[in-house]
């Protein structure tokens, strides 16, 4: 009972902090919004990369799909998308307040659904591959989709797509997207936390440890892998839908299918914190985001070099992530949770 009460107290504290943060640190509102998105990136990458041992470098594809789906749905409900993009941002095609919010809701609903559908199709094609072969096969996904988006004039092609402008004050917009991102981050955390305790979580871990053995037990491993990738795609697709509005302008290669930045960060943050754990990706995202912002401020023009060094340091000295390193040094902090109680 005590444990239960403690857990409730912790959850209440987390939610209270989440609500208070943008008011307590108004200057960091956008940073905090980004942090939540980063947490979603890392958590959703870890579903396959950490829990199932399937390193995907292609999750950025689902992000980009979410970015475009949200924006196109919102525009397409009320205008011709081709005309909108041709007018480069809708000087002539504007949205009423009601249209904006209906479109926003529809777009944010469609983004994860389309991303999940893409994960099912891609998963059926790629998840028969094992380990490294899967990782290599996913490498080109984001790049390919980025090129496709850049070549598709209807959605703005390489000159990008201006997301409909929020019909209210800047402050209200920032708050709205902070809370939407926070809600997504918290849901991702709690849903995945719960999911990992189910048969689904056990099977993902079994696949990570020995997939042949899992098959020999009669487990339909491919089905579980597709479902896992699908869940990851849902979260990351929705984060894409939000990101479209947070950034406000969609460049096909630099925002939507930004494999060299967002795509790499997803992987790096999960590994930095400790993959295969629920807190690892969260910690990794927080440390990474703060570090990256500091580097950006103090090492201007050198930030990518510093980031590269960080990657090397993590992989060489903390191969199991910070959480794994702490666990090795102080194992007593991590008495294995008694599943039998």
């Amino acid at each position: 009972m005590n444990v239960l009460r403690n857990r409730l107290a912790i959850r209440a504290a987390i939610i209270a902090l989440t609500i208070a943060a943008p008011f307590a640190f108004p200057a960091f509102q956008i940073e905090l919004t980004f942090l939540w998105i980063m947490i979603v990136f890392a958590l959703s990458w870890d579903v396959m990369g950490g829990q199932a041992g399937y390193n995907s470098f292609g999750n950025i594809a689902f992000f980009g799909i979410g970015v475009y789906t949200a924006a196109i749905t919102q525009i397409g409900l009320f205008h011709d998308v081709g005309a909108y993009t041709a007018a480069a941002g809708g000087e002539t095609l504007s949205f009423t307040q009601a249209q904006y919010f209906i479109g926003l809701a529809a777009g944010l609903a469609a983004a994860p659904l389309v991303a999940m559908a893409a994960a099912v199709v891609l998963g059926a094609a790629l998840l028969g591959l094992r380990g490294h072969y899967f990782a290599i096969a996913t490498l080109g996904l984001g790049i390919a989709l980025g090129e496709l988006a850049a070549g598709w004039a209807w959605i703005g092609g390489s000159s990008g797509l201006q997301v409909p402008v929020y019909p209210g004050g800047l402050n209200a917009q920032h708050l709205l997207f902070y809370f939407l991102s926070a809600a997504l981050g918290l849901s991702a955390f709690f849903i995945l936390h719960r999911l990992y305790a189910t048969r689904f979580g056990l099977v993902l871990n079994a696949i990570r440890d020995d997939e042949d053995k899992a098959e020999a037990l009669g487990l339909a491993t491919t089905r579980y892998k597709i479902a896992g990738w699908c869940i990851a795609a849902g979260f990351v697709g929705l984060s894409g839908g939000l990101m479209a509005h947070i950034i406000g302008f969609i460049d096909p290669r630099e925002v939507a299918f930004a494999g060299a930045t967002f795509g790499v960060w997803m992987v790096l943050m999960a590994i930095l914190g400790g993959k295969g754990t629920i807190w690892g990706p969260v910690i990794g995202a927080a440390i990474f985001h703060v570090t990256r912002e500091l580097l950006w401020t103090y090492l201007f023009a050198w930030q990518n070099v510093a980031l590269g060094v960080l990657i090397i340091v993590v992989v060489v000295f903390f191969p199991t992530g910070l959480l794994g390193w702490v666990r090795q040094r102080w194992p007593r902090l991590f008495v294995m949770k008694a599943t039998s109680s």
């Binding site: 999911l195 305790a197 189910t198 048969r199 689904f200 056990l202 099977v203 871990n205 079994a206 990570r208 440890d209 020995d210 042949d212 053995k213 899992a214 098959e215 020999a216 037990l217 009669g218 487990l219 339909a220 491993t221 089905r223 579980y224 479902a227 294995m336 008694a338 599943t339 039998s340």
Partner: protein, 247 residues
Amino acid sequence: MTALLEVSDVSKRYGGIIANSGVSLAVPEHAIIGLIGPNGSGKTTLFNSIAGTHAIDRGSIRFAGQEISKLRVPQIARLGLLRTYQQTRVFRRMSCIENMLVSERGEASLAAMIARPGAGQRERAIELLEFVGLASKRDLPAGSLSFGQQKLLEFAMALMGRPRLLLLDEPTAGINPTLINGLVDRLRRAREALSITLLVIEHNMRVMMNLAEHIYCMARGEILAEGKPAEIQNDPKVIAAYLGESG
């Protein structure tokens, strides 16, 4: 008598090596059948053929009246034909109890996927861990167990899947001699209590003579002899296969 498992005329070659050639054997329901033979005689290849690990070149394998030689590993397992490995295979980073819970034969329906393991399942998992003497290790990662303990865990995992037929590949290899008698006893009790059928590869002749009701002996990819343990033990062909032929 119709057999639970009927292997007829199965051949399998790897490149130029003929691993199995025209192998036939029958495993009646509720029996304990032994499979012996010198190293490299094709016993494990036959297990792999039965379990669906690789396609066979020729022949037929029927399980409970159904042709299974074209089915894939998980499909065969879901019919109730499970196996253990010579080199143990457990989920090393998962705890013993998690190893057990994931071994439950479950449908891959969405509802089954997102269900938490129930109290009944957990109880059965602990019962089976007790059965193999590992209940006290339930929360340790399986990879931290000794080789022998991992073998026992793998056996318990197989039982968790409610098999009709269990293929055991050298269940006593690497197990402490004092534990071996206990294991033989457990195999027998598993047969009685859970009404399963066993096909066992084993090098330990003492175990085999105690355990099996009927033994097949393989050599160079073929069935060399079959019969009751006492008959096999005294078969000159079997002795020659193990000790080398003298002209």
